[in-house]
């Protein structure tokens, strides 16, 4: 983090260039990202992202918490996809424990995870279009996002920091009419995506601002660690959900949208098509939702139902033990990666056999994707920086942690 000029060379390297400071408080940086530009007229000579303004030390905090207490922290890494982070963390701990999850919990997780992706992509689409100057899309996207947040609230009690996935399953049974509400949303949503596409995909102004802008080749994208739609927009057909399935994704049918051009427009197309695929997965999850419990039968790890605690002594004891002492996790280490809306979200969890994680490390997709920015922007125009930043869909909370 550069509170000090010294951390980034602020001197122009040539006679005719000047340094331009963008951020850390800038509407188009989606948080507190500072970008230092060296410009020659309108052309960018050098661009350096400067991060760390939101660093809160979550990895350090995790080491002082019980395993189950880390779940709410994972929400706060990325405010747009809390459940993806929940999922990645609980999968890692379940792998450490060797815990089997009932099918209904898995399908619920997949369904909620895809709704989270829709939520995240809607915010991305709205703000990205707003950055480039298309105001209306923002209002349309937030209209549908509100529907998704209401669903989150119905199932978890929270609109954003849901903490709905727990080690061993999910927190609660969904409310009675929940699946009907999700189905109503799934029926309505594809026509809304058509509305966004009508506004943008064929729009000549949108095309001029995005086509051929901030191009990146497949080789560069892989070498610089890009993942998710940013990688697929450069023509690399790789999606963790399909290629290295987790949490029951192998039971679902979906396409992985890719585009060859590697520009802002290609990444836009990938994400918009992903919206349609995601709603398809949600529909499949609804159709095939298995019956049964939503929590694993592991009393030492999973909190008992409130009803049982009122009548069964053991349930009360287990509840007390988990809350006060946590549960020991066998020593070992696990790297679990999931496909978050932004790319490969990975949790590396090390256990030393106690009730607190020895080390939790989050592999942030945005941190790696941000490294593409110089390659995308150098030699291009200042106005394209805004489009480039929007197109890699960064969330600074996840970058800084």
């Amino acid at each position: 983090m550069a509170h000090l000029a010294s951390s980034i060379a602020l001197e122009p390297t040539q006679d005719r260039t000047m340094i331009l400071n963008m951020g850390p408080q800038h509407p188009s940086t989606h948080g507190v990202l500072r970008v230092v530009l060296e410009i020659d007229g309108e052309t960018i000579v050098r661009i350096m992202p400067d991060i760390g303004y939101l660093h809160t030390g979550i990895e350090k905090t995790c080491e002082a918490k019980f395993y189950q207490q880390v779940v709410p922290l994972t929400d706060r890494i990325d405010y747009l996809c809390p459940m993806t982070n929940n999922l990645c963390y609980v999968l890692a701990v379940e792998k450490l424990l060797g815990l089997e999850i009932p099918p209904k919990a898995q399908w619920l997780r997949v369904m909620m995870n895809e709704l989270t992706r829709i939520n995240s992509h809607l915010v991305w689409l709205g703000t990205h279009a707003l950055d480039i100057g298309a105001m209306t899309v923002f209002l349309y996207c937030f209209r549908e996002r509100e529907d998704v947040l209401r669903l989150f609230e119905a199932i978890s009690g929270q609109r954003m920091m849901t903490s709905y996935f727990r080690i061993g399953g999910v927190a609660l049974e969904p409310p009675l009419d929940f699946f009907d509400r999700v189905r109503a949303f799934a029926d309505r949503f594809p026509s809304k995506v058509d509305e966004y596409e009508n506004l943008l995909t064929g729009n000549p102004i949108w095309g001029m601002r995005t086509k051929g802008v901030a191009q990146i080749s497949a080789e560069d994208a892989i070498a610089l660690g890009a993942s998710g739609p940013t990688l697929r927009g450069s023509g690399v057909d790789f999606d963790l959900r399909r290629d290295m399935p987790y949490s029951g994704y192998e039971n679902f049918n979906f396409k992985v949208p890719t585009a060859k051009e590697g520009d802002v427009f290609a990444r836009y197309l990938c994400r918009v098509r992903e919206l349609r695929e995601s709603i398809g997965i949600v529909r499949q999850a609804l159709d095939g939702m298995p019956e049964g419990p939503v929590k694993a039968d592991a009393p030492k790890v999973v909190l008992p139902d409130r009803e049982k605690m009122k009548t069964q002594m053991e349930a009360l004891i287990y509840h007390f033990k988990i809350i006060t002492e946590g549960f020991a996790v066998p020593a070992g280490e696990v790297y679990q990666a999931v496909e978050s809306p932004r790319g490969e979200m990975g949790y590396y969890v090390v256990s030393d056999g106690t009730a607190k994680p020895y080390r939790v490390h989050m592999r942030s997709a945005c941190l790696a994707n941000l490294q593409l920015l110089p390659k995308m922007c150098e030699g291009k125009l200042i106005a394209d920086v805004v489009a480039a930043i929007g197109s890699i869909d960064i969330v600074l909370g996840e970058i800084d942690r």
Binding site: H55, A337, R359
Partner: protein
């Protein structure tokens, strides 16, 4: 339902990463462990960068993508630090984890930025939070903490509340 970990290198020889490394130099691999469906290979520190380049360029299973670089502090054990590289092979959909142990007297290692440019931010973060130096890194400066910060917060002897 945990299956016991396999640590016998003879049994793990089939894995493309280990096979390739052993074919190159048997002294580069200090040990290996297959646990919970994940393979970790301990690499001798002086071989690290070349081992990475070798795995990236391997023909039958190219580990062309560096997912992550991080570190674990095993204080007060020695060697204290364990630097971890999570590699992914996009064509073969295979993962491997490389580990290097470093003592507290000289926590330094060769940078792999020349192999995967994506290591740049990851190594800066490990430098910032653990104080591991990466030689040959193009821009080794603090990334998350302020430039004037003292200490490396993710070390185990650094208090959670920080120094007051």
């Amino acid at each position: 339902m945990l299956t016991p970990a396999i640590t016998d290198i003879e049994q793990l020889k089939e894995h493309p990463a280990i096979e390739r490394l052993l074919r190159w130099s048997s002294s580069s691999v200090e040990g290996a462990k297959f646990d919970r469906d994940e393979l970790s290979v301990n690499i001798e520190r002086s071989f690290l960068r070349e081992a990475c380049a070798l795995l990236r360029d391997s023909t039958d299973c190219p580990f062309n993508y560096l997912s992550d670089v991080t570190c674990v502090d095993w204080y007060p054990q020695e060697p204290r630090f364990e630097v971890i590289y999570n590699l992914l092979s996009i064509p073969k959909k295979e993962r491997v984890r490389l580990k290097v142990r470093l003592g507290s007297d000289s926590p330094a290692l060769e940078s792999v930025c020349s192999v995967w440019p994506s290591a740049n931010f990851f190594e800066r973060e490990v430098f910032d939070l653990f104080g591991i130096r990466f030689s040959g890194h193009p821009y080794l400066r603090r990334i998350q903490m302020p430039e004037t910060w003292e200490g490396h917060p993710l070390r185990k002897d650094y208090p959670v509340e920080g120094y007051r």
